[in-house]
C-alpha cells in the first residue's frame, strides 16, 4: 500500500511540471505584456506616458528577460510560496487567491457530497426497480441534467431567486452575518446559502453518477452469487447492501477522479452567474485585463488541486480494492 502511494506521488511530479509549464505559457500567451495594457490605459485617460519610466517598470517586474529565465524565476518564486504580484489589484496574487479559494473549495466539496448523496440512493433505487415509473423518471431527469449547461441552470435559479426576493446575487451569507466573526449560527447561515450553488454545480455529475451506479448494480444483480444468497433465504435488503452494493461502489469511487475537473468547471460558471465571491470572477477579470500572473496562478492552483484530489481518490480506491495497488 505504501509503495503504491509513493509511486503514485512520484508519478505526479512530471505532471505538475507540465501544469507549471502550461500555466507559465498562459502568463506569456497574450500578445503584449501588462505594460502595453498599462500604457494604453494611461493614453486613454489622456495622461502623459514617459517611455523611460515604462522601461524601468518593465525591468523592475522582470519583463525584459528571456522566456526560459522568466520561467525558472517564476517557478522558483512559486516554490517559495510567492505567486507574484497582481499588477491590476496591486496586491500579492497569493493573498487575492487565498481570500477567495476557500469559497470555491467549499462549493466544490459541497456539490461533490451532494452529488454522491443524491446519486447513490437514486442509482440503488433505479437498479432494484428497473423499468418502473420512478426509474424512467430518474433516467429522464438524468438525461436532461446532463444536457443542461451549468450556467443555464444557474441563470434559471437566479431568475426565480430574483423574482422571489428581489436580490440580484445569491451570495454566501445573509447580510447580518457578512462581517460577523465565525460562529455556529454563521456556519448554518453559510450552509443555507451553499446548497443552491452546490446543486447547480452537482447536477451534471449527479446525472452521470446515477447512470454508472445503476449500470454497475444491474450487472452485479445478475451474478450467480446473488441467486445463491437469495436461495439461501437472505433478506433482499441485507443481500443488496452486503454484496452487490459494495462491489458496485468500486467503479463509482473510481469516477471521483473524472468528477473533479467537471466540478471545477461547473463551480467557475455557477459562481460567475450567481455572483459569488469565489476565484471565478477574479479569474475572468484577470483574463480580460491581461493580469496574467493572477490568471496563470489560478490555472496552476486549480489544476494542482484537481490533481491532488485525483491522487486522494486513487489512494481511496486502492484501499477499497487491493487489485488496483499493483496496477501502476
Amino acid at each position: 500500500m505504501w509503495s503504491f502511494i509513493l509511486r503514485r506521488i512520484l508519478l505526479m511530479v512530471p505532471t505538475l511540471m507540465v501544469v507549471s509549464v502550461i500555466s507559465f505559457a498562459i502568463i506569456e500567451a497574450p500578445p503584449g505584456d501588462f505594460m502595453d495594457a498599462y500604457v494604453n490605459q494611461l493614453l486613454q485617460q489622456q495622461e502623459a506616458v514617459d517611455p523611460a519610466e515604462i522601461e524601468s517598470l518593465r525591468k523592475r517586474y522582470g519583463l525584459d528577460a528571456p522566456t526560459y529565465v522568466r520561467y525558472f524565476r517564476w517557478l522558483g518564486n512559486i516554490l517559495q510560496g510567492n505567486l507574484g504580484r497582481s499588477l491590476e489589484w496591486n496586491q500579492p496574487v497569493s493573498k487575492l487567491i487565498a481570500d477567495r479559494l476557500p469559497w470555491s473549495m467549499a462549493i466544490s466539496v459541497a456539490s461533490f457530497l451532494l452529488a454522491y448523496a443524491l446519486a447513490i440512493p437514486i442509482g440503488l433505487y433505479s437498479a432494484t426497480r428497473q423499468y418502473s415509473i420512478g426509474d424512467y423518471l430518474f433516467t429522464l431527469i438524468g438525461f436532461v441534467g446532463l444536457a443542461t449547461p451549468n450556467f443555464l441552470l444557474a441563470l434559471l435559479i437566479l431568475w426565480y431567486y430574483f423574482v422571489a426576493t428581489g436580490n440580484v446575487a445569491v451570495g454566501l451569507f445573509s447580510d447580518e452575518y457578512l462581517v460577523a466573526p465565525w460562529s455556529l449560527a454563521k456556519f448554518i447561515d453559510l450552509l443555507k446559502h451553499l446548497w443552491l450553488p452546490a446543486l447547480v454545480v452537482g447536477t451534471a455529475g449527479t446525472a452521470g453518477l446515477i447512470r454508472v451506479m445503476r449500470a454497475n448494480l444491474l450487472d452485479e444483480l445478475e451474478r450467480p452469487y446473488v441467486m445463491v444468497a437469495r436461495s439461501k433465504g437472505l433478506s433482499e435488503g441485507k443481500l443488496l447492501v452486503k454484496y452487490p452494493f459494495r462491489i458496485a461502489m468500486n467503479p463509482v469511487a473510481s469516477t471521483i477522479g473524472w468528477t473533479l475537473p467537471t466540478l471545477v468547471n461547473g463551480e467557475l460558471l455557477a459562481s460567475l452567474v450567481l455572483g459569488l465571491p469565489t476565484v471565478a470572477p477574479l479569474f475572468v477579470g484577470a483574463l480580460l485585463n491581461q493580469d496574467m500572473f493572477l490568471a496563470g496562478s489560478v490555472v496552476m492552483i486549480l489544476s494542482t488541486l484537481t490533481l491532488v484530489g485525483t491522487l486522494l481518490s486513487d489512494i481511496v480506491l486502492a484501499w477499497l480494492d487491493p487489485r488496483i495497488r499493483g496496477a501502476i
Binding site: P14, P149, F162, V264, L269, V284, L287, L288, A295, L302
Partner: protein, 379 residues
C-alpha cells in the same frame, strides 16, 4: 455526419429487414437494423437533421435578417401564432399586433396585445434581402407577414427577431461541434492508433498525456487559451481558433477508444495474416484494422459533440469566446445574463432550450449508435 445519416436513415430498408437473412447482412445493415429499433435515437436523429437543415438554409428559413434592428420593437414579447379569431377558426394562422406603452415614472416599457391589428402569416414572403452562402441573392423567406411584425420568440434589446437570431446562431453553435470533432478525430485516431499499435514507450508517453489532459479542469484552460487569440482577428478566424482550442483538449476520449481497439485487434489472426502477406503498417492499420471499429469511432464521435457545443456556448456566454456581431447560442445567452432584464423578458433564455435539445439529441443518438455498433449486444 452525412455518412452516418446515409447509413442510419430510417427508411424502407426496415420493412424487408426481417425477410433478409441475418447471416448474409453486412455489418452496416446489422447496425442500421439495431439502431432503428432504438426509437428515441431515431427521433433524436430526425431532430438533429432538422436543426442542421435550419442552420444550412438559415437565410431562407428565418423570417428576418438577424441583424435587422428596430428600436420601436425593443424587448417585444413573443407573438403567439393563432388560429382562432374571436372564437372563429381559420386555417391560415395569424398573429395579433402589439403596442408598447412607457410608464412615465419608471420608464419601463410594457407591451399589450392589440386585437385590432391582425396579420395573417403567409408562406414564401418577400422580406429582408440576403445572400445565401454568399452565392445566391434573394429576399424570399419561408414564413413571414406582409405588414406588421412576426416575432414568434420575441425580440432582443435592439429589437432584433430572436427566432431569426437563434436559427443563425445554430449555424455557428452546431457547426462548432462538427468541425471540432473532425479535428479531434484526426488527432484522436493518430494518437490512439500510434499508441495502441506500437505500444511500449510511445504508448506510455501518450497515455500520460491523455491522463494529464483528462485530469485537469478544461474550462480555465479554454478560457486562458481563448484570451490568447489575437484581438485583431476577424470573426471567422476567432471561430476557427475557438474550435481548435476546444478540440486540442477534446480528442482524448476518442484516442482511448481507438487505443483499446488496436490493443485487442493487434493479436487477431487476420492482422498477422495481413502482415505476413507483406502489407505495410499503414495498410494494415487503415485497410484491415480501422474498418472493424469505424462504428465505434462514429458512436464515440457523436458522444463528444455535446462537449464541444457546451464548450463554445460556455465560452461565449462568459464573454471569452465569440463576440458580437457573431451570432451563436452562447452569444445570445449572454444577453440574458443581466437578471433584471431577464426578469422582464424571460424569452431571452430560449436559446438555452435549443442548446439543451441539441445536446440531448446528440446524447441519445450517440447512445443508440453505441448499442447498435456493439456486435455482442442482442438484437
Amino acid at each position: 455526419m452525412t455518412a452516418i445519416e446515409e447509413r442510419v436513415q430510417p427508411g424502407n430498408a426496415t420493412l424487408n429487414a426481417e425477410e433478409e437473412d441475418l447471416s448474409v447482412a453486412t455489418q452496416w445493415q446489422l447496425i442500421r437494423w439495431k439502431f432503428v429499433r432504438h426509437k428515441v435515437a431515431v427521433i433524436s436523429l430526425v431532430v438533429i437533421a432538422i436543426f442542421y437543415l435550419f442552420a444550412a438554409f438559415a437565410e431562407f428559413l428565418s423570417p428576418y435578417d438577424p441583424a435587422n434592428h428596430d428600436t420601436d420593437y425593443m424587448f417585444m414579447p413573443p407573438q403567439r401564432l393563432r388560429f382562432f379569431d374571436e372564437g372563429k377558426f381559420q386555417l391560415r394562422p395569424f398573429v395579433y399586433g402589439m403596442t408598447s406603452k412607457m410608464d412615465e415614472n419608471t420608464f419601463r416599457t410594457t407591451w399589450e396585445l392589440d386585437k385590432t391589428q391582425k396579420y395573417p402569416v403567409k408562406l414564401f414572403v418577400r422580406g429582408d434581402p440576403y445572400e445565401l452562402w454568399g452565392l445566391f441573392e434573394g429576399n424570399l423567406h419561408l414564413v413571414g407577414v406582409d405588414e406588421g411584425t412576426l416575432f414568434l420568440i420575441g425580440t432582443d434589446k435592439m429589437g432584433r427577431d430572436l427566432l431569426s437570431r437563434i436559427i443563425f446562431g445554430g449555424r455557428i453553435s452546431l457547426s462548432v461541434g462538427l468541425l471540432g470533432i473532425a479535428i479531434s478525430f484526426v488527432i484522436g485516431v493518430i494518437m490512439g492508433g500510434v499508441s495502441g499499435y506500437f505500444g511500449g514507450v510511445t504508448d506510455l508517453v501518450i497515455q500520460r498525456i491523455i491522463e494529464f489532459l483528462r485530469s485537469i479542469p478544461t474550462l480555465p484552460l479554454w478560457m486562458a487559451l481563448s484570451v490568447a487569440l489575437p484581438p485583431t482577428w476577424t470573426v471567422v478566424q476567432i471561430y476557427f481558433g475557438i474550435v481548435v482550442i476546444l478540440s486540442l483538449v477534446g480528442w482524448t476520449g476518442l484516442a482511448r477508444v481507438v487505443r483499446g481497439k488496436f490493443m485487442s485487434l493487434r493479436e487477431e489472426e487476420y492482422v498477422m495474416a495481413a502482415q505476413l502477406n507483406g502489407s505495410n503498417e499503414a495498410r494494415v492499420i487503415f485497410k484491415h484494422m480501422l474498418p472493424s471499429f469505424t462504428s465505434h469511432i462514429i458512436a464515440s464521435l457523436t458522444l463528444s459533440v455535446p462537449g464541444m457545443i457546451l464548450g463554445e456556448t460556455a465560452l461565449s456566454f462568459i464573454g471569452l469566446g465569440l463576440q458580437n456581431p457573431a451570432i451563436s447560442w452562447g452569444v445570445l445567452l449572454k444577453d440574458a445574463q443581466r437578471i433584471i432584464v431577464l426578469a422582464d423578458s424571460p424569452w431571452l433564455l430560449s436559446p438555452g432550450l435549443f442548446v439543451i435539445i441539441a445536446i440531448l439529441c446528440f446524447n441519445f443518438v450517440g447512445d443508440g449508435l453505441r448499442d447498435a455498433a456493439d456486435p455482442y449486444s442482442s438484437i
